[in-house]
Subunit: 326 residues, 2 copies
């Protein structure tokens, strides 16, 4: 019996690389995870991605060359034609352009397509996850930053290539400084990087918090979703205050986008979104409500359903559908 075609997907994140071998529609036959190299620049990252994909293939019992192709979800500015990636924030030494698609294509011996990380993750949720019942969804990826993916009438919307920057919706004119350098962006209140910086300032000002002790105890250099969760469970007052403020900002910013796009559903993903889960999706929905123009008919607010491998599964759609996202 001829075996059904298998596809690869790689999610390139700031902290980890996830690779998966996927059989249609969304069955994961093998997967591997590696920390994203913080030294060696783009070539080291490409090497790690190749390694992770090879391990996922070994687990699935398939040679990379036999895959129907590999899709990659990447941060940064992507040239969908060539798979070149430039200005990848959160990745070391990646300010210039690097031919990621070509490099991986050579090392894996198959077709590689590169798309925007948030958009492919939204697309994965739309096709196979929490977005399945809907035609139009907004993906909200609440992690280091706040990213957005848009699917309208079943099709990803890219604009001129830069659509979906919901983290930089302004929720407070002249508000807090955002890691992007602008003022008052939703991400300045809700992004994990901004939240960590805020916690540090408050600590320096003499505030009591266990957030940094938890980081030390776990040997982390960043304030991960798990650390925030533990601090909240411990009743850490500063953690609660900062998270409350993040939810107010997410409520206003996401409601603004819903007022404009009137999508059927909001899918909450990202490190914080997935870890905090449905109770926080409900808190965000409640924070959106006072700002929804059509508040009699709010969108569904649901947690991403594909879990940690959602980005990789979404990336595999880039080659399964034969088209490039962004």
């Amino acid at each position: 019996m001829a075996r059904a075609k298998l596809y690869g997907g790689i999610d390139l994140g700031g902290t980890k690389v996830e690779a998966a071998v996927v059989a249609a529609p969304a069955k994961v036959l093998g997967s591997a995870r590696h920390p994203t190299p913080t030294k060696g620049g783009p070539p080291a990252v490409a090497e790690t991605m190749t390694q992770a994909m090879r391990e996922a293939c070994a687990q699935a019992g398939v040679e990379p060359e036999a895959l129907g192709g590999v899709g990659v979800g990447s941060p940064g500015i992507i040239d969908p034609q060539t798979g070149a990636v430039s200005s990848a924030r959160n990745l070391s030494d990646w300010s210039g352009s690097f031919p990621l698609g070509t490099t991986l294509g050579q090392s894996l011996g198959t077709v590689v397509r590169v798309g925007n990380d948030v958009q492919v993750a939204t697309d994965g949720e739309f096709e196979h996850g929490a977005g399945k019942p809907f035609h139009s969804v907004l993906g909200v990826f609440w992690g280091t930053g706040v990213g957005g993916g848009i699917v309208l009438s079943g099709k990803p919307w890219f604009g001129r290539g830069g659509a979906g920057e919901i983290g930089h919706v302004v929720v407070r004119i002249d508000g807090r400084r955002c890691p992007c350098g602008r003022r008052g962006c939703m991400e300045a209140y809700a992004g994990r990087a901004a939240m960590e910086a805020r916690a540090r300032r408050r600590l320096d000002e003499g505030e009591k918090t266990d957030l940094f002790k938890l980081m030390e105890k776990r040997g982390r250099t960043r304030m991960t979703s798990g650390i925030w969760q533990r601090a909240l469970e411990n009743g850490d007052k500063l953690a609660q205050e900062i998270i409350d403020e993040a939810i107010v900002a997410l409520g206003a910013g996401v409601a603004s986008v819903v007022n404009v796009l009137d999508v059927e559903a909001v899918i909450l993903g990202g490190g914080l979104g997935v870890r905090f889960g449905q109770p926080y999706a409900e808190r965000i929905a409640a924070a959106m409500h006072p700002h929804l123009f059509n508040d009699a008919n709010p969108p569904a607010v649901l947690v991403a359903a594909l879990g940690d491998l959602g980005g990789a599964i979404g990336a595999s759609l880039l080659v399964r559908r034969g088209s490039s996202l962004r």
Copy 2:
């Protein structure tokens, strides 16, 4: 020689009804304007619309029955199938549902289709006005409120019927109260109704301004675009302050939407937008810039080109293309 088909368009506004007879692509052969009745409820409004359309037809030398149909741009919640309109804000006694399409169809003896006023005006600009060179535009109608229309890849985007409410994008969490009852909406700072209410509060607090003297002198009951313009020309300090604040709000709110949709162009219409014109489009573009995530590639910001009859011309597209908008 057989005469080319003519179409009617009616723009139903809070202060005036504009009717036009249009020959493809966008040639106006006749037009008429009437004040919107403030008494008599929906039947009186329908009667005035019929009258205006008859006058436009007389000017164009055509019987209403000979038109290829009449399109109507209306405020409120519209049932595109039946042409029923409910909850039309700014219109007197129009909280319930009224069969506007059916009523006009009977009085004019032709097919009538009803669409959302802002969306048909955006569509008109997209097809025949300032939006012609682009595939994706955001219409920003700066008047009594701030309305938005969206065209993506050549097609109007309605969401679930309520898309485009850009006036209710939140620009300041816990900010000023909006006429819609919510807090911090862009319209709370930039809508003419909100601006007039603010001017009145400041006057009551003892502030000096000529805005109300100008209203009296012109025998107006509302602070029209013309009054704001004259006050600015006279160097009225309060008028300047309120308009400056409106522009800051428009900059943040419109930039937020551009960060999400990444459209090619923003078309500025509405009473204030058209009257203030290109210098103010440029001020708004400058106010957007600090909030644009992709600030190296800002969208074009252009003034609506079809003038006072843009709404009526856009409405005529409802019947010229045979489909209903919203």
